[in-house]
């Protein structure tokens, strides 16, 4: 069985759904950040797959993927800093307890 674009897209979609599930269900802020990483990488798989099968001559998809990876690294940096600050102020990393901005 030849591996084609569809397989990559299905893997990307599954990975995105796993990430989304993690983001929506985990209580720990660090775990949510990890979910976000999964979703970003699902997007990366899509970008690379489309680059390979739809427009192999272009480099746009690969460049975009690299940008996303860089972005993800930055995002984790900022996100962890936020988590630490939240912990220092609210003494918790559980997002269901961080609900000061309600009503």
């Amino acid at each position: 069985m030849a591996v084609g674009l569809t397989h990559f897209l299905v893997v990307g979609a599954l990975l995105f759904c796993l990430g989304l599930y993690g983001v929506l269900t985990r209580r720990n802020a660090v775990a949510i950040l990890m979910g976000i990483e999964l979703m970003l990488n699902a997007a990366n798989i899509n970008l690379i797959a489309f680059n390979k099968y739809v427009a192999p001559a272009a480099l746009d998809g690969q460049v975009f993927a690299l940008v996303v990876i860089t972005l993800a690294a930055c995002e984790v940096g900022v996100g962890l800093a936020l988590v630490i600050t939240a912990y220092r102020n609210l003494e918790t990393v559980y997002v269901d307890r961080i609900d000061v901005l309600k009503w």
């Binding site: 949510i32 609900d99 009503w103």
Partner: protein
Amino acid sequence: MRDLAWLIPLFPLVAFGLITALGRRLPGEGSHVAVAGIGLSALLSIGIFVEMAFGAPPAEMTVRWMMLGGNPLELGFRVDHLTTIMLLVVTVVGSMIFIYSIGYMHGDPRFPRFFAYLSLFAASMLLLVLADNLLFLYAGWELVGLCSYLLIGFYFERPSAARASLKAFLTTRVGDFFMFLGILLVFLTLGSFRFEEIFARVREGALAGATIGGLPLLTLAAVLIFGGAVGKSAQVPLHTWLPDAMEGPTPVSALIHAATMVAAGVYLVARTFTLFLDWPAAGALHGGAALQAVAYVGGITALMAATIAVVQDDIKRVLAYSTISQLGLMMLGLGMLGYTAGMFHLMTHAFFKALLFLGAGSVIHAMGTNDIKAMGGLARTMPSTYWTFLIGALALAGVPPLAGFWSKDEILLEAFHHNTGLFVMAALTSLLTAFYMFRVIFYTFTGTLRSHDAHPHESPPVMTLPLWVLAGFSAVVGLVGAPMLGNPMHRFLHFEGVAAVPFSVGLALLSTAIAGAGILAAAVTYRWGIVPSSALRRAAGPLYALVVRKYYFDELYALAVVRPVLWIGRSLRVFDVYVIDMLVNLIGVGVVALARLYRLFDLYVVDGVVNLVGWTAKALGGTLRYVQTGRAQNYLLAIALGVIVIVAAGLLR
């Protein structure tokens, strides 16, 4: 000099303006200005008189004022023989009274105002006299009425003075109303106010045979105009205001209510004499029905007022009734075709009655009371006042050769020739006049002082000097009508077409005898006490009661006029309070009720809608705020579900 006549009323008017504006800052606190004003007028009047006496023709100055329905309305001055006489009387007597007032009013808190009023009066009176048309004359007529009102009420703190001024004003207004109707009637039929035009038309017989409502028009107009004279000259039945007018300061009584203003009625009749006559196409002139009315009103007034004067104890009231009586005599003279006689008596009367009033003022000044029964023996303490008063009284009584004798004799002469009944009335009036004047003299100046708390003293020279000047005039002014001197008065002033009645020595002796009898009777009763006055009172009985109550005129008017008018006024007030005000209040209450209703509408409907909107928004917000949980995951879930729904919708389409 006759074309300067317009200056005559101007001088006192300017004085009035100056005193009103500057008051006490003027020399003599305004009195010197007032005297200067009237004095200049007097000099000018004398000049004009001299000019006229040397035969200058009458002069007239007229300016067009405006057009009234095709008829020009003109204002102007007319200087003729009648005017000249009046000018002389008003300004000369006026000057003396002005000077006297400086002494009499000394120390009065409203001293400048008194002289302002006096000057205004003089200006108005001179305007009245100089007017060349009925309208202008009427303006002066009302102005003197106003001044009279102001001066009677000069001591307005006294309720009696305030009432008297109102009474004088309202009573004369009744006459003025008729007079104005008469003036309008003349204007409507002849289309002019000017004397010269009116008289010329009447002489041509323009109104002969004309009737209005079945009445002869000329007679009606004359009687209506005479109505004004009845009011102003205090003739029966409008005489009741003059005795009350004595509430004013005595110089005012002398000037306005004896010498000049009240004589304006007589002047009016003389001025419009043409209207009172019948103008037959041929034959001698004779008086019309209107002139008869003048004669009878005058005769009745003369006799009635003379009887009342006999029983008065207030020195000024005696003189007031005497004035009414003498004015009646003048009217009687005019009514008997005695044009010259009436005006002659007006002139002499002005001098000696002003003198008598000023003398009375001097006495009142010294005694502080008007009651002659409280006086007595003043001849010794006040010789100047006594002698001048005596000259005035003799002149009034008609003792030759003083002024009153000549003029009264002429009236008696006219009456004797035309109407025996009226002659008897005039003769009786003369008898009573002599009697009451000497009653006053005996009570006031002879015997001993009856009041114990008075310290009479002679008045200052500023008061006695005018007395002596007026006494001089009273003594000699009658000689201008003396037949031995050719009766210059008659030559100066007479009515064309009316024959003069020849002088009669017999009648002159009779009139002297009447005056002597009156004086003798007074002496018998009040000087020697041979017949005590109480005996006279008892003998007269009910007649005395009638006279002492002044023939019940005041009571009659109170019953017939004053009380009904007051009743109507009060009724109207009740109507006003309970009906008109009620209506107004009802409307007010209705509006308030409506406003209350609208307030409810505003509160519950308009505000309700607004509140409902607000409340709905609030409820909605209150419910929906729980969506904001503050948990980021919930929001994220909503976003994810939203994306799924959008994508699903996109795929299914």
